[in-house]
Symmetry: C2
Subunit: 410 residues, 2 copies
């Protein structure tokens, strides 16, 4: 067998056999197959696609390349949530608190942010004392006791997917439904949840541009889940604008608390309610109407908010010590109009430039900086109005006039 | 501009702009764009194709990446020949001698063999004393004086094509008409000939599998030539079997001499006659019937053979000292049947194993070893018949029984 024949076969649109996929992908993991051959194969897959059989096989190779987390010691139904992520996406913390407060277990592995998107682990680390690296025992015990835990300790889950993903990221081969499906599902299956809900984002700011693609991805993920006895549900949601009203680590934690106290009402809140309701349906087997009622009640009764505080405390966080920067700068509009669009990518990038994110791994970040969006889509703006407020440090880089153009007025 | 956006654009089948092609390909030449990104782009080009405009631009980038050879000091019409090459392909030496003997100039740059295909330079170096590295002046003077010269000294022609080709070779991205056209034509245009004939090979052993693809390639090459004021003619020929009756350096020189003396009559001879006739048409502007007559006459009169001897002498070769190995081994058939196929690739590989080729660049080769094919397609074979004779050295590696299976009998 040789890699060039395998690439040729996929270039011609033929189905690769299990041993060919194994040769190519495990060879890549072992550094026998070089990057430039794998990227050529990945591009051929992007354009020519994969059969279900190939996708199942690739998912299996990803899973088998690493450890499988055993969550059997967690009592009750465990529901995991995955999102393709985005700017200002703090859904995990809102949903985890709600769902756990209603008795369904949420064992959650999360990552750090890279580039213009944030990461849940970074957000939590803005809380002084918060410990994100839990041992397997600590993780399982906490989920058993309070129903919700977030850890960065993922052991060695699907390292092959990790390596392939890093290459896809720099070779224009990210937008492929088979590769996205295998990547998401391998990590979810290896991390042990019984039931998985995936927030499939579509739109200009997302990997998938159309609803049709999102549905196709949903279907293949459900099929993959079925092969491993996991129930998979999906929700297709739109991702064109920053989620919620804040971007930045401490600021987003404050926003999570406001949402859980019922003090916010926007698209992000609606999205969290819908996702949480679906997870309750999966966890309890009740109707979506009953689940939605329970979710709403968890907010009005402050059950979900209390659960969040309990969760933060369990992981050593001292929420009362959370700080945001005291230096702020308002971005003042010089235009008059109706906001019809906001550039999520540019806002994410701005948060990075302010010091809130990292360009390379393991870079030090400043949790106190960020952006509070004062005007959002649908708002009317007059000259002199504050569009957004920047929370900055001495190291922050920004150009106030440029930021005005992140908004589109009509 | 960034490479990932460029890759994405081509992945979606869109036309790349001149500045985008420049960014990607010149960036690759300067090592700013890594192999793994270029191979991903090349695969997208392979599958999605290129517009004529893109092909013209890419050819131009290839040409401009290096020197352009100025052949203006060569008097008369210069016709260059290109072949996609093959096992036992010694057409250059036969054709060059014929065409030059009829008064049309053939200034020829050639390469060394790599892998299972031979190279004209290696074949010539089997002649003791033959000098293949001519200076520009020596090259031009010799073409002016005797009409034919072969040199390995190509200056720095189309180095970008060279770099891209090396990557295509190991990433399954060779089979692309736009990339093949840009590669061939950039080298031919940079090397200065007025008129160019291209032997486009099709068949199992060739890059292109169908006549339709060969015609498509021919058309785009003619269009490219037109943009640089070069006349391009093509000939679509079949390449499934070794060309002629010998494989190996000294042996092939002997075969060239036999052909030029009119002592051979096979597909290779017919191919050489046809190509030479077309070159005479291009060089003299006469009809194909007249040209064919002149070519045949150059053989019967020994004009072409005399030209070959003159050419060898001019480059310092002592043809009387040419040697083939004195150790031979016959491959005896144990089967009875009609030869319906021969594996050109395996015979090429065998010549390599005997010591006649190189696996890595600049490897020492043994000019005296090789294979003489005694049975070819169409021949009847009986047990005990000699299929072929190996000319070997102590270092030669081969398995006589295995070689029988390079033939397919019916």
């Amino acid at each position: 067998m040789n890699m060039i024949d395998i690439i040729d076969k996929k270039r011609k649109g033929l189905e690769l056999l299990p041993n060919e996929l194994n040769y190519a992908f495990n060879g890549y993991l072992k550094n026998i197959i070089p990057d430039y051959q794998m990227s050529s194969l990945l591009m051929a897959i992007c354009i020519k696609g994969m059969t279900d059989k190939e996708i199942f096989e690739l998912t299996d190779l990803f899973i088998k390349s690493g450890d499988k987390l055993d969550l059997d010691n967690i009592k009750g139904v465990k529901v995991d949530k995955h999102s393709t992520g985005g700017v200002g996406d703090k859904t995990t913390l809102v949903i985890g608190s709600i769902v756990a407060s209603l008795g369904v277990k949420v064992p959650k592995m999360s990552g750090r942010g890279l580039g213009h998107t944030g990461g849940t682990i970074d957000k939590l680390e803005s809380i002084p004392g918060f410990k994100t690296a839990l041992s397997r025992e600590e993780f399982i015990n906490q989920v058993n006791e309070i129903g919700f835990a977030v850890t960065s300790q993922t052991g060695n889950l699907a390292p092959l997917d990790k390596k392939v993903y890093a290459l896809r990221d720099v070779t224009g081969t990210v937008e492929s439904i088979p590769l996205i499906a295998a990547s998401i599902m391998s990590k979810k299956i290896a991390s042990g949840a019984d039931k998985i809900i995936v927030d499939v984002k579509v739109g200009n700011g997302a990997l998938l541009k159309t609803r049709e693609e999102a549905i196709k991805l949903s279907e293949i993920m459900k099929k993959i889940g079925g092969r491993y006895g996991r129930e998979v549900e999906t929700m297709v949601t739109y991702m064109d604008i920053p989620l919620g009203t804040t971007i930045g680590n401490s600021l987003e934690i404050l926003e999570v608390m406001k949402i859980l106290k019922g003090e916010e009402n926007n698209y992000l809140v609606a999205l969290c309610m819908a996702l949480a309701s679906k997870m309750i349906v999966m966890g309890k087997g009740i109707s979506i109407e009953e689940a939605t009622k329970e979710v709403q009640e968890s907010i009005t009764s402050r059950k979900a908010y209390t659960k969040f505080l309990e969760f933060v405390k369990a992981q050593g966080g001292q929420i009362e010590k959370l700080e945001v920067s005291t230096i702020t700068k308002d971005v003042i509009s010089n235009k008059k109009g109706h906001v019809v669009d906001m550039d999520a990518y540019k806002f994410g990038k701005l948060s990075l430039d302010l010091g809130g994110g990292r360009i390379v791994k393991d870079q030090q970040i400043d949790p106190k900086v960020g952006i509070v969006l004062k005007k959002k889509i649908g708002d009317d703006v007059f000259p002199g109005d504050v569009l957004c407020t920047l929370y900055i440090s001495e190291k922050s880089k920004f150009d106030l006039n440029e930021i005005i153009d992140y908004y589109t007025f009509k």
